[in-house]
Symmetry: C2
Subunit: 245 residues, 2 copies
């Protein structure tokens, strides 16, 4: 059967995250419904990873199988037609080998987190970034971030609800850049624990405010205790950027 | 009496533009109401210029007078407190000389227009940019734009409803840049006619699609006829950027 890989953009505001669940209004469910409406097939859309309520995606990846072959322009336009009143859009579609799996074939996942350093409340970037009034020390944040690169036990940075068997993950990079009053944290790893990016960003922001010193990061990792690290950054500043296969 | 200059950011979506009118839900009215709520004074907030429904502002400028003196932090925080459920925010406030007038003292107004060149419908930038599926020829657009610089009769680029006495305006610059799939038109002039920026951008987009050639621009200007120029670009892609005094 033909397997399709789709690249999805969505606005996380007002939806209950990626994964279908008892509560309605998830990205996965809305895409499955749109596929049903044009193909009359009930499919499971497998995402590369879940995102929490409020988290945005520039290029989430998913796959699904259809009994009948459609060309990829039809896939894009038909799904987008039924998603037109939602803040979800299919940017690209590819016919892929049936060995391709959006989740299990993923080699590296990229996120970015957007912080806006300004005194006034956010307006155009409300629900799109974390507004922080006090000036953050970006150099201290990058120093702290560097101590998270590589292979570590990230127990101190995982949500209690996290279902992963192991908390050992490999961080490829965390690059913090500032352009005018916008601070962007770009972060990549083969895979992440639940809330890991948001817990890392929350901790880095506390370093930026001098609530923590960068050299406390190794102690947080060693503690293997969520309480030793910083707060969870709000979902609205987080963007799922892309997946490498 | 103390005169205050305020710098305002707003999301144009869902509001009826800047200017107070018979229909409610304008930016001017909402700010005047917020000022009344904290000061119990009915003031007129004079903007540097009107913006249409749907048009955003990064830094609109306005002034108003209060009988009593407040420090500028109080002005910012009090207005923002009452505007908190609206997509409007005061970014800065200054105590200014009573000779300052947001509209009449303005020397140059800056706008930008955002176009996103992509096949898929816009999602995160929906209501924030003009999504155009066909690739635009940015060089041809810039060539056409250059022919609008300087002093001209812009009758062909003004809305029928425009109330200005003269259609003669001086265009300081129109700079078109492309970064990945985002095309930004930055445009500045001492003052503009009604719909002038949107009519210029709509015409430049038609040049970018080869519906017009750049050398038709002087003919459009000479025709002094709205029908000779191109379409009106949608409001949602337009941002009022700043005012120079």
């Amino acid at each position: 059967v033909p397997r399709y890989k789709i690249i999805i953009e969505y606005d996380g505001r007002g939806v209950n995250g990626w994964q279908r669940q008892k509560n309605p209004n998830t990205i996965q469910e809305k895409i499955e419904e749109a596929i049903y409406k044009f193909s009359r097939q009930e499919v499971v859309v497998h995402g590369s990873g879940r995102t929490d309520a409020g988290v945005h995606a520039l290029a989430q990846v998913a796959h699904f199988d259809l009994a009948k072959h459609y060309d990829t322009h039809t896939i894009i336009n038909a799904i987008n037609f039924y998603l037109r009143s939602d803040n979800i859009g299919i940017k690209e579609a590819f016919l892929v080998d049936e060995k391709f799996h959006a989740r299990f074939s993923a080699k590296c996942r990229h996120y970015k987190y957007m912080i806006i350093n300004q005194e006034a409340p956010l307006v155009l970037e409300r629900h799109r970034a974390w507004g922080i009034r006090t000036d953050l020390d970006v150099c201290a944040m990058q120093k702290a971030a560097n101590l998270l690169i590589g292979n570590h036990d990230f127990t101190s940075f995982r949500a209690k609800s996290c279902q992963a068997k192991s908390a050992i993950k490999t961080m490829n990079f965390i690059n913090i850049t500032k352009s005018e009053n916008v601070i962007t944290v770009a972060i990549a790893a083969p895979s992440f624990l639940h809330h890991m990016v948001r817990n890392i960003v929350g901790t880095l922001v506390m370093v930026g405010k001098a609530n923590f010193m960068p050299n406390q990061i190794p102690l947080m990792l060693a503690a293997k205790d969520r309480a030793s690290a910083g707060i969870t950054a709000p979902a609205c500043g987080l963007y799922f950027v892309k997946v490498e296969y």
